[in-house]
Symmetry: C2
Subunit: 151 residues, 2 copies
């Protein structure tokens, strides 16, 4: 899966990068929620059954963090690493449940040289996270600082 390390010059608007798969376990949903997002619908299947979700679901922060993990280890290997300038939007159209297996695909939306940081570019990416049924569980648009190749 991983290819060579990429610089700004290797990217192009519309280019897409895949990832490997990661499994979402009940244990990790509950452990993550216990520390970061202690709400009944993330902690306890019985309480979750009566919630708006109708069952135990992952914190959106866990879905985001798991997506980060597979991106870091996927095809989009950036020379200076993934340095986030900010997130432009995240949507969670469907919940993530125990047993789901997630993959993601990242597309280059926009790119320009950085005005303030010589040697860097500013790239806007759209990352879609899918479950094992190819249903979209997260759509994130984020902007990153990407190293330019030394002249």
């Amino acid at each position: 899966m991983p290819g060579p390390t990429l610089c700004y010059e290797d990217l192009a608007v519309g280019r897409r990068f895949g990832t490997g798969e990661i499994a979402v376990t009940r244990e990790e949903i509950v452990a993550f929620a216990s520390r970061f997002d202690p709400q009944p619908f993330h902690l306890d299947a019985e309480a979750a059954g009566g919630s708006v979700f109708g069952g135990l679901v992952a914190s959106g922060w866990l879905t985001g963090a798991l997506t980060m993990k597979i991106m870091i280890e996927g095809e989009l290997r950036l020379a200076g690493g993934h340095v986030g300038l900010g997130i432009d939007s995240i949507r969670w159209p469907r919940p993530v449940r125990p047993g789901d297996r997630l993959t993601a695909v990242t597309e280059v939306l926009e790119m320009r040289p950085s005005a303030s940081r010589p040697g860097h570019g500013v790239v806007k990416f759209r990352t879609e996270t899918l479950n094992q049924d190819r249903e979209t569980v997260q759509v994130m648009v984020a902007t990153q600082l990407v190293l330019r190749r030394p002249a």
Copy 2:
């Protein structure tokens, strides 16, 4: 710190809600990164010294997750819990480093009854996360589903 549980009717544009404080440890920065964001500037102080950050920094996902934790346990106790419809933006104007102590304040930006979900409102919140020097380390705008008080 925690007050009574709040419904949509208890909110108003401009109303602000504080949180308690949470400490960011080197151990948690490294453990979180090892699982979710395995990059040198989140994992290893020496490698981080040569990065754009000049030292070990927390993953933005950890800053977001720790902010979620203190929000959940802070003054903004929502009756149906914090049900995120999506994030409208996140910015990280300053890095979070080991030893930082974070607090957050959440302000109601917009609110309207939900058209699709009777009994709920849609509320846009702005949450600013601050370090111990009152410097802003994260600004997030997010939209949540909030229970209305039964008539």
